[in-house]
């Protein structure tokens, strides 16, 4: 039981009630009303997200990309909206974070559609470009991935922290002081570029805020056992990089 008295998300499917179709339909139709209410709530939340004020990006960040030096403005690739995945692959790491890789498996292949909605999607990490490109090849991904190695971008967007901030728990992570597990954390940031070329930071999300980007979890939400992580510590203990599952 959770402290609030609610039942834990159970994956126990033994002795599940089995009924006639008419009874199923009655239960399903009643539940549909709740799903519709949830969809309406999401529709209310999204305009509030878009209504948030923007902050102007004053620093001239330069990234190391496949075409050499690329400014933040270049990363828009002619679009007015840029979505950045802060992918955890720090300097000196052998491979990308498994959880970030899971998220990337979800969005790899959709950038072609986003481009036609005036959105460019890129991943940014602090490791040198050669490390990113080697790992991207290993995973078979095609999205754009640039290195912020050497610039303040990740630190300014609260996606990287100094070893001191991590050690003493003073990292400003997900809008409060916390102690992350590593100097790199995952997240998504959104930017807008106006016709004059000025860039604005419009949105960032971290920790469970990135749930909405992971379709695989939402498919699990439809299945009888759900995410089935209640007994796992950490909850994602089941997760491997796509080429590291044993079967």
């Amino acid at each position: 039981m959770k402290p609030d008295g609610k039942k834990e998300a159970s994956s126990d499917v033994r002795n599940h009630p089995v009924v006639a179709h008419e009874q199923w339909l009655a239960a399903r139709t009643a539940f549909l009303a709740k799903e519709k209410e949830f969809t309406r709530l999401r529709e209310e939340l999204s305009p509030q997200r878009r209504d948030l004020p923007w902050e102007r990006v004053e620093k001239a960040y330069v990234f190391d990309g496949p075409r050499g030096n690329e400014t933040l403005a270049d990363l828009f690739a002619g679009k007015s909206q840029l979505i950045v995945h802060h992918f955890m692959l720090g300097p000196g790491w052998d491979a990308g974070c498994p959880s970030c890789s899971f998220w990337a498996d979800n969005y790899n292949g959709i950038d072609i559609h986003l481009k036609h909605r005036d959105i460019n999607l890129v991943a940014i990490s602090r490791a040198p470009l050669a490390s990113l490109e080697a790992y991207k090849r290993r995973m078979g991904w095609s999205f754009k991935w640039v290195s912020s190695n050497g610039n303040d971008f990740n630190f300014d967007l609260n996606a990287s922290f100094t070893p001191e901030e991590v050690a003493d728990g003073t990292a400003f992570w997900n809008y409060r002081k916390q102690k992350p597990d590593s100097t790199e954390v995952t997240g998504f940031s959104a930017f807008y570029k106006d016709p004059d070329g000025q860039i604005f930071h419009t949105y960032s999300c971290y920790q469970r805020g990135v749930d909405m980007i992971n379709g695989a979890y939402h498919f699990m939400d439809l299945a009888p056992k759900g995410r089935d992580e209640a007994d796992l510590r950490p909850t994602m203990a089941w997760l491997r990089r796509q080429d590291e599952y044993e079967d």
């Binding site: 039942k7 998300a9 499917v13 599940h16 009630p17 089995v18 006639a20 179709h21 199923w24 239960a27 399903r28 139709t29 539940f31 549909l32 709740k34 799903e35 519709k36 949830f38 969809t39 709530l41 999401r42 939340l45 509030q48 997200r49 948030l52 004020p53 923007w54 902050e55 899971f102 498996d105 979800n106 292949g109 072609i112 559609h113 997900n174 809008y175 807008y192 604005f200 949105y203 960032s204 469970r208 805020g209 749930d211 379709g215 695989a216 498919f219 699990m220 939400d221 439809l222 299945a223 009888p224 056992k225 759900g226 995410r227 089935d228 089941w238 997760l239 491997r240 796509q242 599952y245």
Partner: protein, 202 residues
């Protein structure tokens, strides 16, 4: 929204942070609701599947029980691709682009995810090859499967503009519709229909 974007409110970092934190509270509340909804969804009763549906796939004829590929949970995407259609629906193709790379992970959560359409298997295989997708896609063209689960509609339904779609009698639009069906297979091999969603998915 272009004009609106040009006049958007621009503030200092401190003010931005204040507004962002306020929205974060609402986002967290939304995630809690999502969890509650997930629990309720899994609490829905199941219905035993008593018909013997046989699909056409890469390995020839495959009963519904085989589609689980050894796992206990089967999530089907009903991909709009009717018997006479030359190509798959563009909207369904966008969804497929979104889930194409996640099967490797779902497999390790005891979930097999596949697509089902009424077009002959040959057409599905050719379109899948063109799109570069890796998921399993079988044809239900010789079965009642799509009709029983309200993803395909008869010429009579279409002529009247009345069909049972998304849990009410309405005009379903085209004769094939998209959505998900979920099934569970127990250790004895009995298969149960647990969930389906249509239209906006909600």
């Amino acid at each position: 929204m272009k004009a609106a974007a040009n006049k958007h409110k621009v503030v200092s970092e401190a003010e931005w942070l204040k507004a962002r934190k306020k929205l974060l509270v609402k986002e967290k509340k939304f995630l809690r609701l999502q969890e509650e909804l997930g629990l309720e969804r899994r609490g829905l009763p199941w219905v035993k599947v008593t018909k013997d549906y046989v699909f056409e796939g890469l390995n020839g004829k495959q009963p519904l029980a085989d589609l689980f590929e050894g796992r206990s949970q089967l999530v089907i995407y009903h991909f709009m691709f009717g018997p006479d259609d030359k190509l798959g629906c563009p909207h369904c193709s966008l969804r497929a682009d979104c889930f194409n790379g996640i099967n490797v992970h779902l497999k390790h959560r005891d979930v097999t995810m596949i697509c089902v359409s009424r077009a002959p298997f040959k057409k599905l295989a050719a379109y899948k090859k063109r799109m570069g997708w890796g998921f399993t896609w079988v044809s239900s063209g010789n079965t009642d499967f799509n009709f029983d689960y309200h993803f395909s509609f008869t010429p009579e339904d279409m002529a009247e503009g009345k069909a049972f779609f998304n849990y009410k009698i309405q005009d379903p639009g085209p004769s094939e519709r998209e959505g998900h069906s979920v099934f569970y297979k127990d250790q004895r091999g009995d298969v149960f229909h647990t969930y389906a969603c249509y239209s906006r998915g909600k």
